[in-house]
């Protein structure tokens, strides 16, 4: 079984032998992607597509999703599916609300992390110690968390200044930083509307101007995760628990310990994501997470269980999020982008001789382009579905490129292997 539940259908998506890709390839891919976006901007005149404002909004929107994705990565790399991320994020938002209001944003963030970690710990107890199905435990946590927070919110926030039954009093924001000098230079270039160059400038400006310290913290955590999981003994052992726990056990690795560590870390990161969400919107509100835990999970799958991929996926989803706020023209241009991306995928699949998949990708891609050509705008309600549709498309059309941890979703008990 490759995951919790039935294995049927999985054989349709067997991975081909891995070829090593150098970081250079990814860099070139990023450049190529920006070229395409830039081209679409020029063609459609949707200047918002790459403006620094859009990029900055995308970054803000991406951070909670990225942290949820990173949280999923920690847990799943140790072999435990965590669909309780949403619930742990809820705990994080509440922690930030409760402590952030009284002792400042950093205390709030810390509280969010701790509460999230407690959520993770509960998931660990259920799945690792008691061997409960990962999905069931995750759902239960997601069900319980909003009840707990709402109960406590009513108790603590109702009579607080500026608070209410379902929301906390306002929280201060953490400081924001701008790289001095660079921002204004880039602003000049951006205004020139040059093909590619201005787009690049817009992108860079968005990423370097008025950036929250919490965003920087998130970025740092991605590097830390990559280093810890792939360069240290701790990380190797943790990953081995998600691949072959009995092998790890046979070499003296205490699998329970690493699974506990991974899931607790996962909860802490989800809590951090929730806390950042609350701090960025200046208060805790009931229902604030709005499914970001699930989008985080989607970005992890999209990112093939790797930190870089998770960041890219979260960036993409944050971008569609930002697009919603940035006007119809830009959203409309997204259709063309999606269509082109699907056609590229079709070519890739064609080269791998998967004709049916390539055909389906071509048809869907063509439909998106047609939709773009025949309409002037996209209903804003539908845009919020974009991350989910993209994830479904990725899973359906490019699943064989994914390398899922081998032992994901399965119960491990000491001494039962081999």
């Amino acid at each position: 079984m490759s995951a919790s539940g039935l294995a049927v259908g999985v054989q349709e998506t067997v991975a081909p032998p891995r070829r090593r890709t150098s970081p250079m390839i990814y860099f070139l891919l990023a450049i190529a992607a920006l070229l395409v976006v830039s081209l679409v901007r020029v063609l459609t005149g949707a200047g918002n597509l790459t403006s620094s404002g859009t990029v900055a909004a995308a970054l803000t929107a991406a951070v909670p999703i990225a942290l949820a994705g990173l949280a999923g990565l920690w847990s799943e790399r140790a072999g435990v599916i965590n669909i309780g991320l949403e619930g742990m994020m809820v705990l994080g938002t509440f922690g930030a609300g409760l402590f952030g209001w009284q002792w400042g944003p950093w205390a709030g963030v810390l509280a969010g992390v701790v509460l999230g970690a407690v959520g993770g710990l509960i998931h660990a107890v259920a799945t690792v110690t008691f061997g409960v199905d990962h999905i069931i435990s995750g759902v239960a946590i997601t069900l319980a968390a909003p009840g707990l927070t709402l109960f406590l919110a009513k108790l603590y926030f109702t009579d607080a200044p500026g608070g209410g039954q379902k929301q906390s009093p306002p929280i201060e924001d953490v400081p924001h930083v701008t790289i001095p000098g660079l921002s204004s230079v880039l602003a000049d270039i951006e205004q020139q509307q040059w093909f590619f160059v201005s787009d690049l400038a817009g992108l860079l400006r968005g990423l370097t101007t008025d950036v929250s310290l919490l965003t920087l913290l998130a970025v740092v955590l991605f590097f830390v995760t990559a280093y810890v999981l792939w360069r240290t003994a701790f990380g190797l052992r943790l990953r081995s628990c998600g691949e072959a726990p009995h092998a790890a056990e046979s070499l003296g690795v205490n699998v329970y310990k690493y699974k506990y560590a991974a899931i607790t870390m996962s909860g802490a990161l989800a809590g951090l994501g929730g806390a950042i969400l609350a701090v960025a919107s200046s208060q805790f509100r009931d229902g604030q997470t709005g499914g970001r835990g699930y989008i985080g999970l989607a970005s992890m799958i999209f990112g093939n269980w790797r930190p870089g991929g998770v960041a890219a996926g979260a960036g993409l989803f944050g971008y569609t999020d930002a697009m919603q706020l940035r006007g119809e023209g830009a959203v409309h241009a997204l259709l063309l982008l999606l269509g082109i991306a699907l056609l590229v995928l079709a070519v890739v699949q064609l080269r791998a001789k998967r004709y049916v998949v390539a055909g389906v990708a071509t048809v869907i891609g063509a439909l998106f382009i047609l939709w773009f050509a025949l309409t002037d705008q996209v209903p804003p309600e539908l845009v919020s579905a974009a991350p989910y549709v993209v994830t479904l498309l990725v899973l359906s059309l490019a699943a064989q490129r994914l390398r899922v941890p081998k032992w994901i979703g399965r119960t491990y008990r000491r001494g039962e292997g081999g």
Binding site: R18, T232, S240, A244, A248, S250, G252, V253, K406
Partner: protein
């Protein structure tokens, strides 16, 4: 149970399935705790709570089922749990150098940077050995190391073992392949029902004597009586070709014919296409090419269920995975595989009383030892589960029985009972495809024998005239099979 192993020797531990070999190994390696008793290494008493304790005193284990993470590199697999540190992380450079050094010294030929997923079986085993050596083990435990190897690989392995022995390492070798044990071991300990029954030197015993020591009595001899083979073909399969999902050809143009009243035995080293052949015949695996006919009717396109309806009985290789529902009652297990046939069903509905009555019949006729038919299948012993399966598959008058390792992991009594049932069915004109790793069983129970190697049938023999040795060499591609 007592066993003493001399330093610098290869010590073999033999015993039947379920004799307690694996449990002993797990205890020695700290994966299980003994209820009583002690373990001493070089005179010092050890107390192993976890494998880490065992590793610390120089014990290393090569498991029967490889303990490797496919998605990790060889290097990552080797250093796991004993990582050389440096500069805040793993010192990959030092690890790589050490692996290359060990690999060169013992001629293991292992490349540290490949993904384990890409390695073949022999290479994986060498990675396992390297893992153990990397930790500086002085005592190696090898659990059924040859079960998955082809003969050339076995020879290579034995070469490696001799080299290791020459370096002063001690090797504990667990097996039930007696000829191999006799060729490589310096001392032999025989286990039965959880105790040591004999310690012998390889020069003093024959394989037959060893086998009888293992079983504790004269072995039941599998044999058929007079031939019942007719010339009515029941199963005709032609040109069966199967590829695995990752594109390898696992069965290539195989043709098999079995007549009514005939038992066709298939011999082969595990993993040469037996499982794929069975699953292709059952319709579980899609065919790339080929045609299957049952009593002259083409069933190539039929589903597994339709094939069963057409009269194929199936004793699967892995009882727990494919044969029974462990958490369902015996009578529910009676229905499994017969969901379309009386007495278990009536139309689209289940016939509970019919199924229960017939389960009771099977329990009585096939001597399934159980208090009643409402217990869960998982609470029966392996032998009794298997007898239930055999009884179930024999009901409804099948014309073809596909029996994959029908007596694997069952006690001697159940083994004799199952053989008797197959003989009886054969006398009633059943055609049987028998796949087994037990050469004596194959030779004794088959009317004709074929050898499978790398997805092809490479030789066929008359079981009356063939010896296990001849079969063995054909299975490994060394022999030259004669058409019989």
């Amino acid at each position: 149970m007592n066993v003493a192993v001399r330093t610098g020797t290869v010590h073999a531990l033999v015993g039947e399935n379920g004799a307690g070999k694996s449990t002993l190994m797990k205890i020695l390696y700290g994966m299980q705790r003994p209820d009583e008793g002690t373990i001493s290494i070089d005179g010092t008493q050890g107390d192993f709570h976890t494998p880490a304790d065992a590793i610390a005193v120089g014990i290393g284990m090569v498991h029967q089922h490889f303990m490797l993470a496919d998605n990790l590199t060889v290097l990552e697999n080797v250093v796991l749990g004993d990582e050389p540190r440096g500069g805040g992380g793993i010192d990959f450079k030092a690890a790589r150098a050490k692996i290359k050094d060990i690999s060169a010294r013992y001629g293991l030929g292992v490349d540290p940077d490949r993904l384990v997923d890409e390695l073949g079986v022999g290479e994986r085993q060498r990675v396992e050995i390297l893992k153990v050596l990397f930790r500086g083990a002085r005592i190696l435990i090898l659990d059924e190391p040859t079960a998955v190897l082809v003969p050339q690989e076995v020879d290579e392995l034995f070469g490696n073992l001799r080299e290791l022995k020459a370096e002063g390492l001690t090797i504990l070798f667990i097996s039930h392949k007696l000829d191999e044990v006799l060729s490589v071991a310096d001392d032999i300990t025989v286990m039965r029902r959880g105790t040591t029954v004999a310690s012998v030197a390889p020069g003093d015993v024959t394989a037959r004597q060893l086998a009888e020591l293992m079983v504790g009595s004269a072995l039941p001899v599998p044999e058929l009586r007079e031939s019942t083979v007719t010339d009515t073909p029941v199963l005709e399969a032609e040109g069966l070709t199967v590829t695995s999902p990752d594109g390898r050809t696992v069965l290539e143009g195989m043709s098999v014919t079995i007549n009514a009243g005939e038992v066709l035995g298939i011999a082969g080293v595990e993993g040469n296409g037996q499982a794929e052949l069975v699953e292709a015949l059952m319709g579980i695996r899609p065919l790339q090419a080929g045609r299957i006919a049952l009593r002259g009717e083409d069933i190539t396109k039929l589903s597994t269920r339709k094939r069963r309806d057409a009269g194929i009985g199936y004793i699967p290789e892995d009882r727990h995975r494919q044969g029974v529902l462990l958490e369902a009652t015996l009578w529910e297990n009676r229905i499994l595989g017969h969901q379309t046939k009386a007495p278990s069903v009536r139309g689209l509905l289940l016939n509970r009383s019919g199924a229960r009555a017939d389960t009771q019949r099977i329990v009585d006729e096939y001597d399934v030892r159980t208090p009643n038919i409402d217990v869960l299948a998982g609470s029966l012993s392996g032998g009794n589960q298997q007898k239930l399966i055999v009884g179930r598959e024999m009901s409804g008058n099948p014309v073809l029985l596909i029996a994959s390792h029908p007596t694997r992991g069952v006690d001697v009594g159940a083994q004799a009972a199952i053989w008797e049932q197959i003989r009886k069915a054969r006398a009633e004109q059943l055609a049987v495809l028998l796949i087994s790793a037990d050469l004596d069983e194959l030779i004794g129970m088959s009317d004709s024998l074929a050898v499978i190697l790398r997805g092809r049938l490479v030789a066929s023999y008359d079981p009356k005239a063939v010896t296990p040795e001849e079969l063995g060499s054909a299975m490994t591609g060394a022999g030259d099979g004669e058409e019989s």
